[in-house]
């Protein structure tokens, strides 16, 4: 680990996707489009981001839909490779939490806990010890041997969060994870965990529309707008800026 305790580092990171649109028309038109690349489009999802996340920091990421938040998370974890010239590195074990992903619907809660934990690097003997705690935290005592495909979104979210917390990932990246799920009780408990995470030196990156959580816990917030970083700073500062960009955007849309 570097001496300044930076666990995630992004330098001049951009990400461009090349996509092909589906061509309608006859076979000749289709093959022409394929050969000439006429249906190709380049989409700059993230543009020139410089960012460092320190160990134990709670970083919030806000921005309108489609501004590149999820792409940025994928760049942080190294699942996406940045365009030439950019450097992205992450130091430590991580888990990305997002709704609907992370579990196999064909497996039971028990099997998913063991599989996810093991893939994260936790020994099975450790998981045996923590298994009850995970189930209790997720409040799924009655569904230990139920296949995940029968779980509601809220139940999946609880399970994923419980695994992430107990498998002791160094870095937890949450991608709209609490988007409308979890009742008040669960929210209160995750609040508790957010507070504890600081104590344990866990790093959290939190993409959210939930301003309350960001305001309450984030040390720093990043505002993304159309792939660009519009500002990094304290929650109050950035949330004000965010409200303004939304206003400007609405106005410009009206003018068009």
């Amino acid at each position: 680990m570097s001496e300044d305790n930076v666990v995630i580092r992004l330098e001049n990171v951009s990400k461009t996707f090349t996509i092909r649109d589906k061509v309608s028309g006859n076979l000749l038109e289709k093959s022409w489009a394929f050969a000439s690349g006429g249906n190709k489009r380049r989409i700059e999802a993230v543009k020139n981001i410089n960012l460092e996340v320190k160990k134990g920091e709670f970083l919030g990421i806000v921005g309108a839909n489609g501004c590149g938040k999820s792409t940025l998370i994928h760049l942080m974890t190294g699942v996406y490779k940045p365009d030439k010239g950019g450097i992205a590195s992450i130091d430590g074990t991580y888990i990305r939490l997002s709704l609907g992903l992370g579990f196999n619907g064909q497996l039971t809660a028990r099997e998913n806990i063991y599989l996810n934990g093991s893939v994260m690097g936790v020994k099975i003997s450790e998981l045996n010890k923590n298994f009850r705690k995970i189930i209790e935290f997720a409040e799924l005592q009655k569904f230990v041997n139920t296949k995940l495909k029968y779980f509601s979104r809220g139940m999946r979210a609880r399970l994923a969060f419980a695994v992430a917390v107990h498998a002791e990932a160094d870095i937890i990246l949450m991608d709209e994870f609490f988007g409308g799920v979890g009742d008040e009780r669960f929210k209160a408990r995750s609040d508790e965990i957010f507070q504890k995470a600081f104590v344990n030196g866990r790093t959290i990156v939190h993409v959210s529309h939930n301003m309350r959580t960001i305001k309450q816990y984030a040390d720093r917030v990043v505002l993304l707008h159309e792939g660009e970083c519009r500002g990094i700073g304290s929650p109050d500062e950035i949330l004000d800026l965010y409200r303004e960009t939304i206003k400007v955007r609405r106005l410009s849309m009206r003018e068009e």
Binding site: G78, V79, T93, I95, L97, L115, N116, K123, I124
Partner: protein, 265 residues
């Protein structure tokens, strides 16, 4: 220098729970394959046996008395074949089927390939035990030459790992590879000495013995397990070199293209 060496050793020696994890992934996949059916894991026994029985009945009509112990002849070939077919087909799809882990958690991504190769090994070992049990029941002699058998299992696993890595990379750019691979499998099924006596194919097309990485494995493994003969050591060496080269190409393509694969699924 010292750091580079340390990094190299780190990649060779598994970190704390790596082997455990690969095995858990493999075991879980094996369970998923059968968990939705009513008979469950019993299918792992029943399916290959029924398949062999069907081939046996059909082909006994076609090549009446060409080969003695024809049932065992087919069985010894087909169990290698089934492993090859299932492992490469599974490997081709592994990025998609393991996406839910690859995208969210940090771990050595090669592990999903290892586990995919291991998953099918479970079924293969079941087949081998059934084969040996049937040999004992029917009174065919099992000789000490059987100790050579693992040589061919390892060769086969190397081959399947290499092919999985290559196919899954191609699959990123060309989805049609899964249909194409089905056709290649169909062709390979008929040019390998699974049903035919090996002389029948290789006297006509001697090049096929060397062009096709599976033929030598089938011939040698059959000699060892069924006939109690020594393997053809030249062919063993040749097949290891071939599988090793395919594996090297696979690892190279994995290192070069894997990150693109995840972006495109």
């Amino acid at each position: 220098m010292a750091q580079g060496l340390a990094a190299r050793i780190y990649t060779i020696i598994p970190e704390n729970n790596r082997l455990e994890r690969i095995w858990l992934l493999a075991k879980t996949d094996f369970k998923i394959q059968y968990s939705s059916s009513a008979l469950g894991v019993i299918w792992a026994f029943v399916y290959p046996l029924m398949r062999i029985l069907i081939y046996y009945v059909v082909f006994s009509f076609v090549f009446a008395k060409d080969i003695p112990n024809y049932g065992f002849y087919i069985f010894s070939g087909i169990m290698i074949w089934m492993y090859f077919q299932e492992a490469t087909k599974g490997g081709l799809k592994v990025i998609r089927s393991k996406r839910y882990l690859l995208e969210n958690i940090r771990f050595n991504k090669l592990d999903v390939y290892y586990s995919s190769i291991l998953t099918n090994l479970i079924g293969f070992l079941v087949n081998i035990s059934v084969f040996l049990a049937m040999m004992i029941i029917t009174g065919l002699p099992i000789t000490w030459k059987l100790i050579y058998y693992p040589i061919f299992i390892i060769n086969l696993m190397m081959l399947c790992l290499g092919i999985s890595l290559i196919l899954s990379t191609i699959n990123v750019y060309l989805k049609d590879i899964s249909q194409l691979w089905e056709l290649v499998l169909l062709l390979m099924f008929w040019i390998n000495p699974i049903f035919f006596a090996k002389q029948k194919i290789f006297n006509m097309f001697p090049a096929l013995l060397y062009a096709n990485p599976l033929a030598g494995i089938i011939i040698n493994s059959r000699d060892v397990i069924m006939y109690g003969k020594d393997p053809d050591w030249f062919l063993v060496g040749y097949n290891y070199v071939l599988a090793g080269s395919i594996l090297a190409i696979g690892v190279w393509s994995f290192n070069k293209f894997f990150h693109k694969a995840i972006e495109k699924i």
